[in-house]
């Protein structure tokens, strides 16, 4: 399910860096980009398209901010399984707490160094993907059902 990640980010540099980082660490993951928070709910509600398993969210964007996006996503039980990961360079602890209260799953530091940037994203994806059933990347496959690919 998290083979599709929705990235909500307005900075060109960050969009490029995220695409490059995840493209290297998780080439099988498909990325879709939105430049503002306004488009998130319409995109998630669009039943004609595959639903992402994870949203990677910047907090400070024009239009609807990241915090509002989290609240709106969490207001709808349909998106309960959707992982919401806030990816921000902010060091504001109160902001982290507000994101948690709003229902974010992760509040991840956005590093300056690219190797670190890539590692942070890779570890975050690995963590949440390993928590889904039937994921081939799991370290130890769940007993019984196949985790293999043909």
């Amino acid at each position: 399910m998290t083979d599709l990640v929705l990235v909500v980010e307005d900075s060109d540099e960050d969009i490029e860096a995220i695409a490059r980082a995840i493209g290297r660490s998780h080439p099988e993951v498909r990325l879709e980009f939105l430049r503002s928070g306004n488009g998130v709910l319409p995109r998630l509600n669009d039943t004609g398209q595959a639903r992402p398993g994870l949203v990677l969210l910047d907090l400070n964007m024009p239009g609807e901010g990241g915090l509002d996006v989290i609240r709106r996503v969490r207001a709808d039980a349909v998106f309960e399984a959707l992982r919401v990961v806030v990816f921000t360079s902010s060091e504001n602890q109160a902001e982290a707490e507000a994101c948690y209260a709003a229902g974010a799953d992760s509040y991840i530091y956005k590093p300056i160094n690219f190797a670190l940037f890539q590692s942070v994203l890779a570890q975050t994806l690995d963590y949440w993907r390993s928590r889904e059933p039937n994921v081939t990347q799991m370290v130890v496959p769940p007993p019984g059902e196949s985790s293999a690919q043909a």
Binding site: P27, E91, C99, Y100, S119, Y127, T136, V139, A148, A150
Partner: protein, 522 residues
């Protein structure tokens, strides 16, 4: 065999540039599956330690259910040349008569076994040779991936230490420092990170970050579980700074053992974190000491002065670690005359503080005894000259005598900024300053002027921290900001006036403010 050579060539080209082990099975299994008489190709990925199989991959007969156990039993336990194994009944039912198998191991990495299931037409010797070549490619690809990963991990750790040091050094606030350590560590090197600091010998949780915020939320609701994490262990490191253990840095890992950073790195990070936390703690202690010392240098309360409302404030300049030299005080003589004193010892620190205390007490004691401002200031000047102090003091005394329905103010200044008079009816004007700071000349020179205060009028005395503070554009507050602030603050209570005035300016130096307002009714 030309086809095989071409396939092997393609395999080499592709296998050495892959970026993830997940891509490997899709590359190495299909060429073997294309060989004549091959019913299936199975791949096993072994745990670094123990017999566990981490992943099953296949082409042809699916490697699922009971077949997994069977194939695992056939797999050779160690690396070596390809072996041909006769198939048992279960496999024969699937048309498999022999299995050719080979394994590779790479230190520190998950090893792998490839098994090729043949029907009775397959050429085991040929398949064995091809399998050995594929194993060689696979082994080389895994070795390169391993090298690349080790490089990448080292880069990440170097970058983390550099970035964490920058982040930690950027703040001197203990809370922020303790938050930044785990924030940087998660999830780059651990899934969770907690900071405990010893208080009265007990570890107290001061900061916690986890990649899964809700998991952390649940953990923090169980104090016993939290406390048990603070026990020293492989991933619970002492925070040791300047020879003392100040707390514990605890890492929570939820990743394969091979991805856990080496202990030396965790110790290095803990050592840097400890120093940053200790520095910020010392800094805060020092600031608190400075604030306490500053309070001792100022009157704990202003006296009651019949027909006047008094208010004062002291604002410590931006992030300074030394006691400032500004002072103020008010004394009320028996005859109802009020003497308000303000001054500023140049410089900061212990010496300046000692002089500040001496100057304030000297002036107020002499003024209380009935000495004129000139004589009190002259005595202080003589004292400074006698001590041979190189420090000088700007000071001013406002002597307020009841006059009509207000006060007559005698302003005596020794190089101090002129006061402001805010009229109750609106408008403000600046008095005159003048004189030479105390401690400079043997015979002091004063500036003298007289002001009149009517009901509701306010005399505002201040130090140059107010007028010389600069706004974001570099403009001095005195140029424009002071007049604007005074306009805005006409009519507000006198304590609000001093508080608002002091925060209107962006203080880089300390600001002392003293305001005296004539009451409506005496």
């Amino acid at each position: 065999m030309t086809e095989w050579s071409a396939a092997l060539h393609r395999l080499w080209s592709a296998a050495v540039v892959i970026s993830s082990r997940e891509q490997l099975a899709e590359l190495v299994l299909p060429p073997l599956q294309e060989l004549p008489g091959v019913r299936a190709v199975w791949g096993l990925r072994h745990a670094v330690q123990g017999d566990t199989v981490l992943a099953y991959r296949w082409k042809g007969l699916p490697l699922t259910g009971d077949l997994r156990d069977l194939v695992e039993r056939l797999a050779p336990g160690e690396a070596g040349p390809a072996r041909v194994i006769g198939a048992g009944d279960e496999l024969r039912e699937q048309g498999v008569t022999r299995v050719v198998a080979a394994r590779f191991d790479q230190p520190g990495e998950a090893g792998g076994t490839i098994l090729v299931a043949l029907d009775d037409t397959g050429d085991a010797a040929l398949v064995g040779r091809c399998l050995e070549q594929v194993i060689e490619v696979t082994h080389e690809a895994v070795r390169r991936l391993s090298e690349a990963r080790v490089d990448q991990e080292q880069q990440v750790r170097d970058a983390l230490l550099a970035e964490a040091s920058l982040q930690m050094d950027a703040v001197l606030d203990t809370e922020q420092t303790m938050y930044r350590v785990p924030r940087m560590a998660v999830p780059a090197i651990a899934e969770g990170c907690l900071v405990f600091v010893y208080e009265d010998g007990k570890p107290v949780l001061r900061s916690a970050v986890h990649v899964d915020m809700r998991l952390l939320g649940r953990l923090l609701h169980d104090p016993d579980a939290v406390q048990s994490l603070a026990e020293p262990g492989e991933h619970a490191l002492e925070l040791r700074a300047r020879g003392r253990v100040i707390g514990m840095l605890v890492f929570l890992f939820d990743r394969p053992a091979g991805r856990i950073p080496p202990p030396a790195f965790l110790r290095d990070l803990a050592a840097r974190a400890a120093l940053a936390i200790d520095n910020s703690t010392l800094y805060e202690q020092r600031r608190q000491e400075v604030a306490r010392m500053q309070q001792h240098l100022l009157p704990t309360r202003l006296p009651r002065a019949g027909g006047l409302e008094l208010a004062a404030s002291y604002t410590v300049g931006d992030r300074v670690l030394e006691v400032g030299g500004d002072f103020y005080d008010v004394v009320v003589r028996d005859d109802g005359v009020v003497a308000a004193v303000i001054g500023d010892v140049c410089g900061r620190g212990v010496d300046a503080a000692a002089l500040t205390g001496m100057a304030r007490h000297t002036l107020t004691a002499l003024l209380q005894e009935g000495l004129s401002p000139e004589r009190a200031l002259t005595r202080l000047n003589a004292r400074l000259r006698l001590d041979g102090s190189w420090r000088f003091i700007t000071a001013a005394v406002a002597l307020l005598r009841p006059h009509d329905d207000g006060y007559a103010v005698q302003w005596t200044s020794a190089g101090h900024p002129a006061p402001v008079v805010m009229r109750g009816a609106g408008g403000a004007s600046r008095g005159s300053g003048g004189g030479v700071p105390l401690g400079v000349l043997d015979s002091p020179q004063f500036g003298s002027s007289t002001l009149r205060l009517s009901r509701h009028d306010t005399l505002v005395m201040f130090t140059d921290g107010l007028t010389e503070s600069r706004d974001g554009d570099g403009q001095m507050f005195e140029q424009d900001g002071l007049a604007r602030a005074l306009d805005r603050l006409g009519g507000v209570p006198v304590q609000t006036l001093v508080d608002e005035l002091s925060t209107s300016a962006e203080a880089s130096d300390d600001i002392a403010l003293l305001a005296l307002r004539v009451r409506a009714e005496p």
